[in-house]
């Protein structure tokens, strides 16, 4: 059997000609290409002054949704917390009291709902798991802050503005305007 190594070809190491050796031709050729790019359209955008539009499926920060009457959709079933690979979601359920029907859509609601944004890997499994369309991933991203504790988002940070009492803020959060 022919040895495997013998199948390898010898590397072409022929000595360079004079024009190749002085490299000038190749340097000039390369320069020609790079200089021609000066006159082409710039591919950069001036973030944050300019922003690219995001597609609806973009997975940014979470938002807890409300229905048309401004009631919270979340029923604290815990499916999102179970589905989360990073174990970033915690919640505490509470029972709706008489007179709170305008606040919560169903009898059970999340009294406490926290997402640790430092743990979150933005996979979108919580959105997929939610049977009530209560949580979705918005198009906002790149939050910055001074300490780690502020990245544990509570309901205050996550809830979308009330469409009845604050329609403008709601429309902005939904990206409708």
């Amino acid at each position: 059997m022919q040895a495997l190594t013998n199948r390898a070809q010898a590397v072409n190491r022929a000595p360079m000609t004079f024009w190749e050796r002085i490299y000038l031709v190749n340097i000039f050729k390369g320069m020609l290409i790079t200089f021609s790019h000066i006159f082409k359209k710039k591919p950069t955008i001036q973030y944050p002054e300019q922003k690219r539009p995001f597609s609806p499926v973009f997975r940014g920060l979470h938002v807890l949704n409300r229905d048309e009457q401004g009631r919270e959709r979340c029923t604290a079933c815990g499916l999102c917390a179970v589905a989360c690979p990073a174990e970033a979601i915690t919640m505490e359920a509470a029972e709706r009291l008489p007179g709170e029907e305008n606040l919560y859509r169903e009898e059970k609601y999340a009294a406490r709902y926290e997402i640790n944004m430092l743990r979150c890997i933005f996979c979108g499994l919580c959105e997929e798991a939610c049977p009530k369309d209560a949580i979705y991933l918005s198009e906002t991203f790149a939050p910055a802050n001074f300490n780690r504790s502020t990245f544990i988002y509570s309901k205050k940070d996550l809830l979308i503005p009330n469409p009845v009492t604050e329609p403008e803020a709601y429309a902005k959060a939904k990206g409708l305007n």
Binding site: S55, F58, R59, P85, L125
Partner: protein, 371 residues
């Protein structure tokens, strides 16, 4: 930068390159034994970015663990997810709809293009050319935009689910990909003119970092590294998965085994990726993008193995199931680890100045090696 550990009167001494070094593309630590400028031995030291992903996967369900694998080889995150999804599907015996298969393969090839783009830019920078880096990132950005539009994220796409893909493609997906592909062919020609055909670059790469066919096989090299040494090992050709069996493309094989051969394999592979996308993009069949699966996936008791071709080589996913909702044991056979192990063979006897060029052609992604 290079710290001398010890030296002997004969002039043999040991230096450290890394773990923090601009040429190692990450936290890779090489202990190099030198005689003057000649390399006698290279020992890669690993473990600086070990996150025990395999162990983590054991506590995650079959739906969840796929997304953790995006963090292994982050440049071909989509292909990693594909391997895991295929392995789970093998266990569940789910038939993936044709539409999902087409989308998956197109996405795979786009990921491969993006990965090779980044490699090309970083490699040219390793040998001292800075401009290619910008050109590479410009094209990669276009791919990332396409990814973001359909998958929802730029790098960690999380688009694969067992049984298909997470969402349908964006209405403009086909048009944008075609637009990108049409312009991309000229770009490859420009790359060839700027870097491949350059005598200075060729002088730097030719005959450097030679890896023989036997060594490539015995070190378990795969992907472009092995194909540059003449080993026909393209998983897409040898063990086709999804619609790879139906598309026409060439398996790129070079026989010289040096750094330039590895460079050429990747450049020509980009052309083949374009060819695969061209064949599929117009023919995405109508239908479901996801097969119906149960909410809680349970694999039957047994062992499952699936291999795919990532941008770096053969990625194997091995799942041992006890019949529960989480895997009993998961092992990833990562291409980077085996390719890196052959570095000693490639660089031995060469000059230390050539080491960086050789390492550049290996296309190392350190989180893939360490996991």
């Amino acid at each position: 930068m290079h710290q001398v550990l010890s030296s002997t009167p004969e002039g043999i001494f040991t230096i450290n390159v890394g773990p923090q070094h601009p040429a190692t593309h990450g936290v890779l630590h090489l202990v190099i034994t030198l005689n003057g400028e000649t390399i006698l031995k290279i020992e890669p030291h690993l473990g600086y970015i070990h996150r025990s992903i395999e162990k983590m996967c054991e506590s995650l369900t079959y739906r969840q663990f796929i997304y953790v694998t995006s963090r292994m080889d982050y440049l071909s995150a989509h292909i990693n997810n594909h391997a895991c999804a295929l392995c789970v599907e093998k266990g569940l015996q789910v038939e993936v709809p044709m539409r999902a298969q087409y989308i998956r393969v197109i996405m795979d090839e786009l990921t491969r293009l993006a990965s090779h783009e980044l490699w090309w830019g970083a490699m040219a920078m390793d040998v001292g050319a800075f401009t290619p880096f910008f050109y590479a990132f410009r094209e990669r950005e276009t791919i990332n935009e396409i990814m973001e539009e359909t998958c929802g994220a730029r790098l960690t796409m999380n688009y694969m689910v067992p049984g298909g893909v997470m969402a349908d493609i964006h209405p403009q997906f086909q048009q944008k990909v075609k637009q990108f592909i049409a312009g991309y062919k000229n770009k490859i020609a420009e790359y060839n003119e700027l870097v491949t055909g350059n005598v200075i670059f060729q002088n730097r790469m030719k005959g450097v970092g030679y890896l023989s066919t036997e060594d490539a096989i015995s070190y378990g090299c795969s992907g472009p590294v092995a194909r540059a040494s003449g080993v026909a090992c393209d998983v897409r050709k040898r063990y086709p998965y999804d619609v790879y069996a139906q598309v026409q493309f060439d398996e790129i094989i070079e026989t010289t085994g040096d750094s330039f051969a590895r460079y050429l394999v990747r450049i020509r592979e980009m052309e083949q990726s374009v060819r695969i996308i061209e064949q599929l993009i117009d023919n995405i069949p109508e239908g479901d993008y996801q097969a119906k699966t149960k909410a809680v996936l349970k694999l039957p008791k047994g062992e499952f193995y699936q291999r795919v071709e990532t941008a770096r080589g053969e990625l194997g996913v091995y799942i041992v199931s006890e019949g529960g909702t989480t895997p009993y044991r998961i092992k990833f056979r990562s291409p980077g680890f085996s390719n890196l192990s052959a570095l000693n063979e490639m660089a031995k006897g060469g000059k230390i100045g050539d080491l960086v060029a050789t390492m550049g052609t290996l296309d190392l992604v350190i989180p893939d090696i360490d996991r």
